[in-house]
């Protein structure tokens, strides 16, 4: 974790808020993490935990009418992103930092061909002639293994399947050799066989291009099979951070443990015929983010809760080397059975 090379992306105490009729929503409430060059970092959590808002904050895509980055710093290649002008951000987006989203159809322009859309990005950022940009586009389609790339360049998004569209998005995102690729639920809308293809493709391209990936997902299975390091978020805060092996071997936050016990598993050990074990539920609901959370955000649903958890927020500290967690009772959690 403490690699010699400085991280390409450094997020510190990020707070992002939205104004709603019910009050100010603290969607992200003091999140910090580093992303090393060429690394795959998974950010995992349930809906409303702030994982997508974290991604949008890094890209400065929070709609200014309703939301803002209220505090914190985002440093990328030595530059502070929170104070950059919109013009400077535009020259970074799709160039040094790229993104892919869950539903490619909503991110692709339906009236432009695939080739035009990829080449446009290349021309804007790399300032090459159109012809060279189109060549680059074809090269990228080959790279993401879209067959018959030359013909596909002239096709429109609706002519492609969901998996192909996501490949096109990846081609576009990688067309200018970004340092960082932010992928927000990139495979959630896809069928399982297609999801497997896209995840494999992303990892293979990462090896080839050296692009670091922030993979945002609700799916622990996707994280386990792709990420190197994982951040678990809950109610806008970071609950736990560890290498993927350590996290799944010995999760230390009661919330992470709860999540892992709640998911049905496809790899379950041969269950006796007909018997079905109960999944362990996490009782209760996530806290309302419009009211300030006193103490630990998970306290109301936690089996290890003490008086202190309800009044004082636990600091985020390293409990084991490279394995950090925000929990007052981490020693008790650690000693308890998985």
């Amino acid at each position: 974790m403490s690699a010699a090379a400085p991280p390409v992306l450094q997020v510190r105490d990020l707070c992002t808020q939205f104004d709603t009729l019910d009050g100010v929503v603290r969607a992200v409430d003091g999140v910090s993490f580093d992303l090393a060059a060429g690394e795959t970092l998974g950010i995992v959590g349930e809906s409303g935990c702030g994982k997508s808002v974290t991604a949008l904050s890094i890209l400065r895509l929070i709609p200014p009418q309703t939301g803002r980055i209220a505090a914190g710093s985002i440093r990328f290649e030595g530059r502070e992103l929170t104070t950059l002008s919109e013009a400077e951000m535009k020259s970074l987006r799709g160039h040094r930092i790229s993104m892919i989203f869950q539903e490619p159809m909503t991110s692709l322009n339906p009236v432009l061909t695939i080739g035009t859309q990829i080449a446009e990005n290349v021309v804007r950022h790399l300032h090459v002639p159109w012809r060279a940009a189109l060549d680059r586009a074809r090269e990228m389609l080959d790279l993401v293994r879209i067959s018959d790339a030359k013909r596909r360049l002239g096709e429109y998004p609706h002519q492609l399947s969901g998996g192909m569209r996501q490949r096109v998005m990846i081609a576009m995102a990688l067309s200018c050799d970004p340092q960082v690729l932010i992928a927000d639920e990139p495979t959630t809308a896809l069928d399982v066989t297609i999801q497997a293809q896209i995840l494999d493709l992303m990892l293979e391209l990462k090896e080839k291009t050296g692009t670091a990936i922030v993979l945002i997902t609700h799916d622990l299975g996707v994280v386990a099979e792709t990420a190197e390091r994982v951040v678990v978020m809950y109610a806008g805060r970071k609950a736990e951070e560890a290498s993927v092996e350590a996290l799944f071997e010995l999760p230390l936050h009661p919330y992470t443990r709860g999540l892992m016990r709640a998911i049905p598993r496809v790899d379950a050990e041969a269950d006796a015929a007909g018997t079905r074990t109960r999944l362990q539920e996490i009782p209760g609901l996530v806290p309302v983010l419009t009211r300030p959370i006193v103490g630990c955000a998970f306290a109301a649903r936690c089996g290890f809760v003490t008086e202190r958890c309800r009044v004082e927020a636990p600091p985020f500290v390293e409990a084991l080397p490279g394995h950090a967690v925000a929990c007052w009772e981490v020693e008790r959690v650690r000693a308890s059975a998985l």
Binding site: M164, V192, Q195, G221, E225, I263
Partner: protein
């Protein structure tokens, strides 16, 4: 109670016409369901799993008679209901209920939750007035909602609570079978666990049967007794879940299982071959075995002959030319 299966379908077919040209004449058909047969016993969960466009939801809608089948038979408790008109179908509707992926879209926003859940009691003249209120309150408690929530409106509930409302409504008429179409797909994992547990508890308590439709293999493995794997309108493999996960015989099942992600980083390296390509369009499926275009084990005959679903071992049905009756259950070789 008769011994007939709660639901049996025989050779079920559902084609949707495709219209085209200036005169909007029928130019083809999407063969959404193309000759599917299965039976569900009392208290059993049959899972229907497959990727989008495989026809699993169409089967659900057809057995509910929300859409009319193009061919085949539907038997509810041994009675043929295939060609019953809506009026004649009415008494049978009590026996088969449904829960959806998004219960919110099926709830009238202007009615209180208690009214929504109590509607079937009115419709089937089961209870009225104070007795109805008592029954609805009992249903609320049974699915883990507070009876005082009866006065609230659908938008005041969370996703998981709405799914509980949907379950309470389905339960209200005491059905034999519930068709559950992706009931937990829209829910977060911690809430998903609550709903899955509730469904299993209710099954054990009331002897309910489920036709459980999902794309999620892990959820399937958890809730089903038997699983039917579908590909482009056909069942390609049908067996008990233990056998399916331990010894899948159809190449598509194998591909699905090795594509599924599991929360275990050690499994990464164990990942087998991933099937390549996209699912072909159900409007124009490949001839022969529908899977041959993506199947690494396909032989020449697979391109022309459509394999029937046959019982290759006790209770294990497979539709694959390379998996004959009594054949070797070992991995196939690539030709």
């Amino acid at each position: 109670m008769s011994d007939a299966p709660v639901l049996e379908v025989q050779g079920l077919v559902k084609h949707f016409p495709i219209h085209g040209g200036l005169l909007q004449r029928q130019v083809g058909a999407v063969k959404a369901v193309d000759g599917v047969s299965f039976a569900i016993a009392r208290g059993e969960t049959l899972g229907l799993v497959g990727e989008s466009g495989c026809g699993k939801s169409t089967i659900g809608k057809t057995v509910l008679k929300l859409i009319e089948p193009s061919g085949g038979k539907i038997l509810l408790g041994g009675e043929d209901v295939t060609s019953l008109k809506p009026g004649a179908m009415w008494p049978h509707r009590r026996r088969i209920q449904t829960i959806f992926q998004d219960p919110y879209s099926s709830m009238n926003p202007r009615l209180s939750a208690g009214t929504i859940v109590g509607e079937p009691l009115d419709n089937f003249a089961i209870a009225r007035g104070a007795e109805k209120d008592r029954q609805v309150a009992r249903l609320f408690e049974r699915v883990g909602l507070r009876p005082d929530a009866m006065r609230k409106y659908a938008h005041e509930f969370s996703g998981g609570q709405r799914q509980r409302l949907g379950i309470a409504k389905a339960l209200s008429v005491n059905p034999d079978l519930i068709v559950a179409d992706e009931p937990v797909s829209a829910l977060d994992v911690s809430v998903q666990a609550q709903v899955l547990n509730l469904l299993i508890d209710l099954q054990e308590e009331y002897g309910l049967a489920y036709l459980f439709i999902s794309h999620d293999l892990a959820v399937m493995r958890h809730i089903s007794h038997r699983i039917a794997v579908m590909y482009l309108g056909r069942i390609v493999e049908l067996t008990d879940k233990r056998t399916l996960f331990a010894r899948p015989l159809h190449p598509y099942t194998e591909a699905l299982l090795s594509s599924a992600t599991a929360p275990d980083p050690k499994r990464r390296r164990l990942r087998k071959r991933i099937v390549q390509g996209d699912v072909p369009s159900p409007a124009n499926p490949p001839p022969g075995c529908h899977f041959h275009t993506r199947c690494p084990y396909a032989i020449a005959e697979c391109r022309v002959t459509s394999p029937p679903l046959i019982e290759v071992a006790a209770g294990h049905h497979v539709a694959c030319l390379r998996r004959p009756v009594g054949g070797d259950p070992e991995p196939l070789s690539i030709p």
